[in-house]
């Protein structure tokens, strides 16, 4: 295994992979640091550039975006008090107060170094645990897969903050989108209304780009000229005070338990499908506060808060990569785009991915590991630029991002139909956001829809007894866990009924 990893590292260290990785990481850091631009949107912007590259180069660029974006978000957190991306939301709680106390440099670099160490610690798990996880997945029959997907969807729908019903409906809409087109067994057209284009089904990536990028940009435009734009200048362009990198690192390693625990929290949240970085950042922050000897200092510029949040959101990336590589299920929207890119290159994801494509799999591990020094280098060299980038106006950004979304959809198969699908689902996504429907369950439904149907039909074709879904131990266990997670969600919703606070939609 270490041989393969070494081979992967040497392979990715070549210019043809290093350049896309470096560029991806750079764009990720910039995208992450722009408030209103999420990591998902950044990876969508990078997507069309990867069409012309070889698969590993494209995936390296996307991995770079993912790692860079998870770190870049902290710059806006510390300087503006607004998360640059949802994944770094909890960094705001202590990063901004620390900056306001006159230590913006310490706040930012604590975050950057915690990201590096959290991410690299996560890499250990990624490299050593993905294989065994995939081995477990290989034991799965269609019953277990079906139940696993049901569990994934139940968990995601249950975790949505708005309403469990809306989460479930959102999942159903995602599943419904995949039903349109020819059925996978007998190629009978379903709900196509005579349209030849829909006959092939809605292409996945344009739907994803429309729902995520368009809906996000349009909700950002609503707030344009609003009061939120005023504090944006708060500390933007500030000069960082003198400080020592060694001291910052000592501060992090003084509490190895905090770093390790935040990493594990991030990793676990990452492995669970479609929950995303924001949950891991908040949960690790919460855990750090609970275990801290000085919980009263949290929220006032406590370094522990920054370390926990940033270490966990980078470890979250490794968790998401584990899920996609072991099971073929994306851990979040960013890995969903990566999955889409893999499909374009004809790579089949799933438990056989690592054994069938060892070069690619270990190349992704290597890209993930190397993205961290790249990110550090970019932060060291370009911090003054990034301090200014946070103040780029949405009026400039939005048109450019939208052009790249359109290119991403068009270049998929060089037809305008994909662009029409993009526009259609852009409107659908925006309307759903406005109606308070969470988008993460929809995307998961969209991604898993085909697989759920195929595994369900395959299970029934193998043995018509439907009780097998419950009586096979793993399958039954997974379904029980799905019911439990929905029940837990209902219980929690009932408990917190009066504590509903409207939050930013989490893309």
């Amino acid at each position: 295994m270490l041989d393969l990893l070494w081979h992967g590292l040497v392979n990715v260290a070549q210019w043809k992979y290093m350049l896309p990785l470096f560029a991806g990481t750079f764009i990720g850091v910039i995208g992450g640091s722009l408030p209103g631009v999420t990591i998902t949107m950044t990876v969508i912007v990078v997507l069309p550039f990867t069409y012309g590259l070889d698969p590993l180069a494209g995936l390296a660029a996307m991995t770079g975006v993912y790692v860079g974006g998870s770190t870049g978000g902290l710059i806006a957190c510390c300087l503006l008090g607004i998360p640059g991306s949802p994944a770094s939301i909890a960094t705001t709680f202590d990063g901004f107060p620390m900056s306001r106390n006159g230590e913006p440099g310490r706040a930012i670099w604590l975050g950057v170094w915690a990201s590096v160490w959290g991410g690299l610690l996560g890499a250990l798990f990624l490299v050593f645990l993905t294989g065994p996880l995939a081995a477990i997945a290989l034991e799965f029959g269609p019953w277990e897969y079906f139940s696993l997907f049901v569990l994934a969807m139940a968990m995601v729908a249950g975790l949505t903050e708005a309403s469990l019903l809306k989460g479930l409906l959102s999942t159903a809409i995602g599943l419904l989108i995949t039903v349109v087109g020819h059925d996978p067994i007998g190629s009978v057209p379903r709900f196509t209304f005579g349209s030849e284009f829909i006959g092939g089904g809605f292409p996945f990536l344009p739907v994803l780009i429309g729902i995520f990028a368009f809906a996000q940009i349009m909700t950002d435009l609503e707030k344009l000229n609003g009061p939120r734009n005023q504090p944006v200048q708060a500390l933007a362009g500030v000069r960082l005070e003198r400080f020592s990198h060694l001291k910052v690192n000592l501060e992090i390693f003084k509490q190895p338990f905090l770093l390790a625990w935040a990493t594990i929290v991030g990793l676990i949240i990452g492995i669970l499908p479609a929950i995303g970085g924001s949950a891991s950042s908040v949960m690790a922050y919460d855990q750090a506060k609970k275990f801290s000897k000085t919980p009263e200092c949290f929220g006032k510029g406590h370094p522990e808060g920054i370390i926990a949040s940033e270490a966990s959101n980078n470890a979250n990336v490794s968790g998401s990569l584990m899920t996609i590589m072991a099971f073929g299920i994306p851990g979040d929207a960013v890995t969903a785009v990566m999955l889409g890119a893999m499909t374009i290159h004809g790579i089949q994801s799933g438990p056989l991915f690592i054994s069938q494509n060892p070069d690619l799999a270990y190349g992704i591990y290597a890209a993930y590991i190397l993205a961290h020094p790249c990110m550090l280098l970019i932060c060291v060299a370009l911090m003054p630029l990034m301090l200014r980038v946070t103040s780029v106006r949405m009026a400039v950004l939005a048109p450019v991002v939208l052009v790249l979304c359109v290119v991403g959809a068009y270049a998929l198969n060089n037809t305008m139909q994909s662009v029409y699908v993009l526009l259609l689902f852009g409107v659908v996504g925006y309307v759903l956001v406005k109606l308070g429907f969470p988008l993460a369950p929809l995307i998961l439904g969209l991604i898993l829809g085909d697989q759920i149907e195929i595994n369900l039909v395959r299970a029934i074709m193998t043995d018509a007894n439907p009780w097998l879904f419950l009586t096979r131990p793993i399958s039954g266990g997974l379904l029980a866990a799905a019911v439990l997670s929905v029940a837990l969600a209902i219980w929690q919703h009932l408990r917190h009924q009066n504590r509903v606070v409207e939050e930013e939609p989490d893309f």
Partner: protein, 158 residues
């Protein structure tokens, strides 16, 4: 008892799921396969119909007072969203007619102007530079370097 936004959304989704549910029952069954092409859609749609009905019911029983903007939330500029969607719509419409380069210059320029109207000649120059730059750089990178083809204009041939 009045119906709210969630209730209306639920009703629309309920209608869609019921119409498609009927359609899924009309799909032909296949001779060898034990379950036909309508089997799985019927499960999804039934689930969707029940969840939509529950959403309507929930809305009717308990009209949550806070669903939209909280009172201290920033004022939302929906006019801009409508304009932005319209401009994107025109862009998509013009793309196959004018070609990527011309349509993109127009799109980036007009959307920027709509989002933040330039006032001085310098701001107009910056706007034009960004519009031209976006079109040219993306064209060069995609077509020349990455060999990704972009739309040609039916009217312009460019």
């Amino acid at each position: 008892m009045s119906i709210g936004r969630d209730g209306i959304a639920g009703l629309v989704l309920l209608a869609i799921s019921l119409v498609l549910l009927v359609k899924s029952f009309q799909l032909p069954s296949l001779p060898i396969v034990p379950v036909g092409p309508g089997f799985y859609p019927a499960i999804v749609l039934s689930f969707m119909a029940v969840a939509s009905a529950l959403l309507v019911l929930q809305d009717l029983i308990k009209r949550a007072p806070v669903t939209a903007d909280a009172p201290d939330a920033p004022r939302r500029n929906y006019r801009l969203v409508v304009i932005a969607f319209a401009i994107v719509g025109f862009y998509v419409l013009l793309l196959p007619l004018l070609g990527f380069r011309v349509a993109t210059v127009l799109f980036v320029g007009s959307l920027q102007a709509a989002l933040g109207r330039p006032r001085t000649p310098r701001q107009w120059a910056v706007l034009a530079a960004i519009a031209l730059g976006t079109a040219m750089v993306s064209y060069l990178v995609f077509e020349r370097y990455l060999l990704v083809l972009l739309p040609r204009g039916a009217w312009t041939g460019f």
